[in-house]
């Protein structure tokens, strides 16, 4: 085969520009591995083409770059093996030392990272454990109160469309009064709720309280030995006078 003739037959341009047929391509690639002149001529044309394209470059709109990156971020990392080119080296000793150095740096970083994650995880566990303890305490107390056979349960039901409702657990022998709030809307800061016991139609103060942040909170109220009914009103913060019965929120009769 006359390689010079082949080179000047237009096959190089045809191949590089992607116009050659599959058979021509195979033949060309085969010839490339046998004739360095052919490879050089191909390379020259490729460089000329690259230079020509460079001269006719057009700057693309600036947003394209961002769009490409965000599209690529959504492509899962490829499974192709990661190829790292390593050249032969004659510096064996220093390279071995280098390995040791690299290994210790990696170990050090790994240890630091592990210590940091363990510390964080431990802290997280402690926090959630504390949360759990508080919840269990609360539930145990609730359980104790609600299951005490001496306790009378009084349901306070919301009046006049008020959603306020609560359960009173009242032990008439020990006079202890507990209240479990089921639903008490938050009030303006100058107002408070107040629990009253009605004894012979007279209101007796059992304590002021704020709407708890979460429901089912147990509040210990003032003791009373007697009560015909319980009522909740809205009063000014720190109220010392009688109840504003017009602001009566919830009422429940003690079944005695």
């Amino acid at each position: 085969m006359n390689i010079q003739e082949y080179i000047s037959s237009g096959i190089i341009e045809s191949y590089v520009l992607g116009l050659a047929s599959p058979e021509e391509r195979t033949e060309f690639e085969q010839n490339c591995s046998n004739y360095p002149d052919l490879v050089e001529a191909r390379n020259n044309f490729e460089l000329a083409l690259e230079e020509q394209a460079g001269k006719n470059a057009i700057t693309p709109p600036s947003n394209v770059r961002e769009k490409i990156w965000s599209a690529i971020r959504q492509i899962p990392a490829s499974n192709t093996p990661k190829i790292i080119t390593m050249e032969p080296t004659s510096r064996r000793r220093s390279s071995r030392l280098g390995w040791v150095a690299a290994a210790s740096i990696i170990l050090f970083l790994a240890a630091g990272y592990l210590a940091y994650t363990f510390y964080n995880r431990n802290k997280e566990l402690k926090d959630s454990n504390k949360d759990l303890e508080e919840k269990v305490d609360k539930m145990a107390k609730e359980q104790e109160i609600t299951h005490d056979p001496n306790n009378t349960v009084v349901n306070l039901i919301g009046l006049k469309g008020s959603p306020s409702s609560a359960n009173i657990y009242w032990d008439s022998t020990s006079a202890n009064v507990y209240m479990i709030v089921k639903n008490m809307p938050q009030l303006p800061t100058n107002k408070q709720y107040q629990l009253w016991a009605l004894i012979d139609n007279k209101p007796v103060d059992l304590g002021l309280f704020d709407a708890p942040k979460d429901n089912k909170v147990i509040l210990k109220m003032k003791n009373t030995q007697k009560a015909d009914a319980f009522a909740i009103t809205i009063e000014n913060r720190g109220n010392t006078g009688g109840p504003h019965l017009g602001d009566l929120q919830s009422l429940g009769k003690a079944k005695l």
Binding site: G10, E13, S14, L19, E46, Q52, P61, I75, R91
Partner: protein, 201 residues
């Protein structure tokens, strides 16, 4: 300096991407660039985009006249480069040639796609490949850029062949049918056209 150090302690080649990250003004050889792209190194890909996107955009704009659609094509081209870099074979040609052909094929695919054809309202769409011959009159906006400028200097017979094969992506067989020429003649004429084109680039 860091790189020459690494060349001595070449087993640290694994740190090259990291070192390069510290130095954004790095220039890569084509081989380094390919190696880094294979491990999907962001820095190398940014470098690739910065250095080659204008040339490739120029190539795309020779085929797709609408700049907005051409930008979409450019986007697809770079996503494909990122995905398919492992199929690049340096024994078959330079990296730029590989990317150039991806860009050219993507642009031709776009021009042939139905939505694009539909958008050319004034040109009735038919399934018949032969009708495309009439379209070899090229949008004047893209008629005088890049390779096209050289192609336009060829004699009409050659210009038409390069237009159909290179810019519109028809195979030799299709061209032989379109122009009603024997396949052998199409092949020889394209080769001759390319040889002339070669002296103009």
């Amino acid at each position: 300096m860091a790189r020459s150090y690494l060349r001595q302690y070449s087993k640290f080649a694994i740190f090259v991407p990291f070192i390069n990250y510290l130095n954004p003004y790095t220039k890569y050889t084509e081989q380094e660039l390919v190696s880094l792209l294979l491990i999907q190194n962001d820095q190398a890909f940014s470098y690739l985009y910065d250095n080659y996107s204008p040339a490739l955009f120029g190539v795309i704009c020779q085929i797709v006249s609408d700049k907005e659609i051409a930008s979409d094509v450019l986007q697809d081209v770079f996503i494909n480069i990122w995905r398919k870099i492992s199929s690049y074979d340096k024994t078959k040609g330079r990296l730029f040639t590989w990317m150039l052909n991806i860009a050219r094929n993507a642009a031709i695919d776009k021009v042939r796609s139905r939505p694009y054809q539909d958008s050319l309202k004034n040109q009735p769409l038919t399934e018949n490949v032969n009708s495309t011959v009439s379209n070899t009159v090229v949008d004047p906006k893209i008629n005088d850029v890049g390779l096209r400028r050289s192609v336009n200097k060829l004699k009409e017979e050659y210009r038409q062949l390069i237009e159909l094969s290179y810019f519109q992506g028809f195979t030799h067989e299709e061209i032989s049918k379109i122009l009603n020429l024997p396949l052998g003649t199409v092949k020889t004429r394209i080769r001759s056209a390319l040889m002339q084109l070669r002296t103009m680039i």
